[in-house]
């Protein structure tokens, strides 16, 4: 585990996020739903504005100055993002709409060309729907088998049967951090086991990349997916990283302009990677915006991000236990070092929707529902939880506001 700097005071960052000036129901906004989507610093918003106001042009083929600037900005963003996650080369990063499309790209281009009836894909029971449904679709179409790594009652993976599950498997799909439990998965040993069994490893980094230092090569991933909007970047952009040889061996996914070197009446020749997988006019502004988000996170430092969140999570776990005792049940690991800053909870018998509604009235935004992880919710035995999640712009005052609002909810429904 990455060593955590002792101190990381990020208070000064709040000023970078214009939305935090919002007044919600005459209260200051306390945004605790970053696991769903993060707020955007001015630097990210302005990077996209600059593109639209100063050099908006289509990329790759234009000869004129603006087109070259746009191309350089987009490819520069790709290179920066690649470096941020420890990729060996920029061309290993494919831009997608979001993490979900990235998993689907793997299921279509790699899965359909590689897997056939009887092949097994191993997933964990705490995967997000994004890393389940594409495989269900492939299972229905191709007759592949899906096997499940169970989740223990402490909310961690139970890998006691791993070797049996991996026997004959072609792919292991695993989240690096649960969006419900916060559980951080130590991917490397799983990846080693998978590779030893002859399976490739797809890691869902949608929750980990925003909050932890990432090194796709060190963790042993073959495919790695994440979304821009959860890491201070814009909507409409995500990334699939994969090793170059894998990408080069895969057939294309979507067909159209930019992903070809030739099109004839009787067929086409695909382009080299990464463009082979980027059909049509790309999300240019969004790629540039994600590059700016990475630049922002690099300036803060991912170690500092992590240290800040560990401290805040620790504070929250202790303070909430203190104020609510047994009435508040928090799911997932109790050690802040073993988890991200995502707190899913139940408060007495109050339904998550009602909690979230009362909290909203106090300006506090939390999520209520199944968090796109229904199989996990069934295992936890709850139809819905409320979930508070923290990021760089949150502080102890926000956690206090959460606790105060939860007390209000208890009073209201008491």
């Amino acid at each position: 585990m990455t060593p955590v700097p002792a101190h990381a005071d990020l208070t000064h960052l709040k000023a970078d996020f214009p939305i935090l000036d919002r007044i919600s129901h005459s209260k200051r906004l306390v945004y605790l739903d970053s696991a769903a989507t993060a707020q955007k610093p001015t630097a990210v918003i302005e990077a996209m504005n600059r593109y639209y106001r100063e050099y908006n042009a289509s990329v790759h083929r234009g000869v004129y100055e603006m087109a070259e600037e746009a191309t350089a900005a987009m490819e520069g963003a790709r290179a920066r993002i690649a470096r941020f996650i420890g990729a060996a080369e920029a061309r290993e990063c494919i831009f997608t709409r979001n993490a979900t499309e990235a998993v689907n790209l793997v299921a279509h281009a790699w899965g359909r060309s590689t897997l056939s009836a009887g092949d097994a894909v191993v997933l964990t029971q705490m995967e997000h729907h994004a890393n389940i449904v594409p495989w269900h679709m492939l299972a229905a179409e191709r007759g592949i088998e899906i096997r499940w790594i169970p989740v223990s009652s402490e909310g961690v993976l139970d890998i006691s049967g791993l070797d049996r599950l991996l026997d004959g498997a072609r792919l292991l799909g695993v989240t690096a951090m649960s969006n419900v439990l916060g559980t951080i998965v130590d991917v490397r040993p799983l990846a080693d086991a998978a590779h030893a069994a002859g399976a490739l490893v797809l890691v869902d980094g949608a929750q980990s990349v925003p909050h932890l230092p990432t090194d796709v090569q060190a963790m042993g991933a073959d495919f790695f997916v994440f979304s821009g909007h959860k890491m201070l970047g814009p909507t409409g952009i995500g990334v699939l990283w994969a090793r170059a040889e894998l990408l080069e061996a895969m057939p294309p996914f979507l067909g159209g302009g930019s992903m070809i070197t030739d099109v004839r009446l009787d067929g086409f020749t695909p382009m080299e990677i990464p463009w082979k997988f980027e059909a049509g006019t790309p999300a240019i502004a969004e790629a540039i915006g994600l590059g700016a988000a990475v630049e922002y996170l690099e300036a803060v430092g991912m170690e500092s991000v992590r240290a800040h969140e560990v401290a805040l999570t620790r504070y929250a776990l202790a303070m909430l236990a203190d104020r609510f005792g047994d009435r508040l049940e928090i799911f997932g690991p109790t050690d802040a070092l073993a988890r991200g800053s995502v707190l899913s909870f139940q408060l007495g018998g109050i339904h998550a929707h009602d909690i979230s509604q009362v909290l909203d009235q106090e300006g506090v935004c939390v999520r209520a529902g199944h968090h796109c992880a229904k199989p996990l919710m069934r295992i936890l035995g709850v139809p819905a939880t409320a979930r508070a999640s923290f990021y760089v712009y949150n502080d102890e005052a926000d956690v206090d506001a959460l606790a105060d609002a939860l007390e209000a909810a208890e009073k209201f429904f008491g």
Binding site: H351, Q357, G369, P383
Partner: protein
């Protein structure tokens, strides 16, 4: 923007805390129908016993969910119990019209609304306590909580 009092009227909290007609009925003569809101996991179970002429002789409810879906289920059961089929149909239509006001605002002109609603006739119906649920329309995600019991009732009454 509206306050919590608009959503959680006293009468709603009352039905939530002390739901009417909770329980089961023997099947048969009653029918059992389940309703499910996949978005939030709320579940409504209705036991409905009809007269030969379609009147709701008795009704009981089970399931779990948020205060709005629970209160709406309770209020629905009270509103239809002992009522003729025609009265029940009118009440369903009126209630759905009440709930569709917001949807009409969300989906601008030119795209079709809910074909189930009939605002003309609905306006004349006195919904009594049920009017308290009108505040829900200002909280669009909660509309499905309020309508769950009613959609389940419609299913229960479908031929």
């Amino acid at each position: 923007m509206s306050g919590l009092e608009d959503l959680y009227r006293e009468i709603i909290l009352d039905h939530y805390r002390a739901p009417r007609n909770r329980g089961e009925l023997p099947v048969p003569p009653a029918h059992k129908t389940e309703g499910f809101n996949p978005l939030c996991g709320d579940e409504v179970v209705l036991y409905v016993e009809l007269d030969d002429d379609g009147a709701v002789r008795d009704i009981r409810t089970a399931g779990h969910g948020c205060s709005i879906s629970q209160a709406s289920t309770s209020m629905m059961s009270a509103a239809v119990k002992g009522k003729s089929r025609a009265e029940v149909d009118t009440t369903i239509r009126a209630f759905k019209a009440l709930m569709s006001i917001h949807e009409a605002r969300l989906v601008p002109e030119g795209s079709s609304g809910d074909s189930d609603t009939d605002e003309g006739s609905a306006a004349e119906v006195n919904l009594g306590d049920l009017e308290a649920l009108q505040g829900v329309v200002k909280f669009p995600v909660r509309i499905k909580c309020a309508t769950l019991a009613w959609n389940t009732l419609q299913q229960a009454l479908a031929p």
